[in-house]
Amino acid sequence: MSVHSASIRRWRGAALLMVGALAAFLGYLRWPTKTPAGQSPLVLLSSQNLESFRHAFNAADDRTRVIAFFSPT
């Protein structure tokens, strides 16, 4: 085996590793999430649907409401 072909194989291995890592990262980002049984699906809030949060808050005004803030990590 020449030094040249060994170098190519090393580069190819490194490239494959990088592609694999990138695929795993993208998979992590796009992996679907599920809320526990009995809860409605996770709502992704944005300025477009902030109104839905306000609506849900007001719709429950017959009882005490709790808003809790957490970081996912």
Binding site: T33, T35, S46, S47, R65, V66, I67, A68, S71, P72
Partner: protein, 132 residues
């Protein structure tokens, strides 16, 4: 994460008719995606609705409500608030309060959640709060 488990523990021991809004938001640099199913499972109570608020819109609204001065000053307990960010915190709103133009003043705002569980339990059990 400890805070979410603490909140679930409070809910597990309470059968009050509550509505619980769990807002997950990016705080650390690694918070680049919505919470995983495993994270969401920390709050399994059926009274909870869970949200991913990547732009921290609800925290901004709460900051506006909590910062506004007046006779409705919020009793605040060690809430981590920095640069418009509110996290590991619980806000409690009594029945009847409406979110019109801005979010109403919370009747209670406290954190870190694991450190204020007794306060939160006491506030939730207040008869005034349930019927106000």
């Amino acid at each position: 994460m400890q805070g979410a488990s603490a909140l679930q523990e409070i809910l597990s021991k309470s059968n009050l008719p509550l509505s619980v809004f769990v807002v997950w938001e990016p705080v650390l640099a690694m918070d680049i995606r919505s919470p995983t199913s495993r994270t969401l499972a920390r709050i399994w109570d059926g009274r909870a609705k869970q949200f991913w608020d990547k732009d921290r819109l609800i925290a901004i609204e709460l900051n506006k409500a909590a910062d506004s001065s007046g006779s409705n000053a919020v009793p605040e307990r060690h809430v981590p608030r920095r640069g418009g960010l509110v996290w590991d915190a619980v806000a409690i709103f009594s029945a009847g309060k409406k979110w019109a133009g801005t979010m109403p003043h919370p009747d209670y705002l406290g954190g870190a959640v694991a450190a204020v569980t007794d306060d939160v339990r006491a506030r939730l059990a207040e008869p005034d709060l349930k019927t106000r």
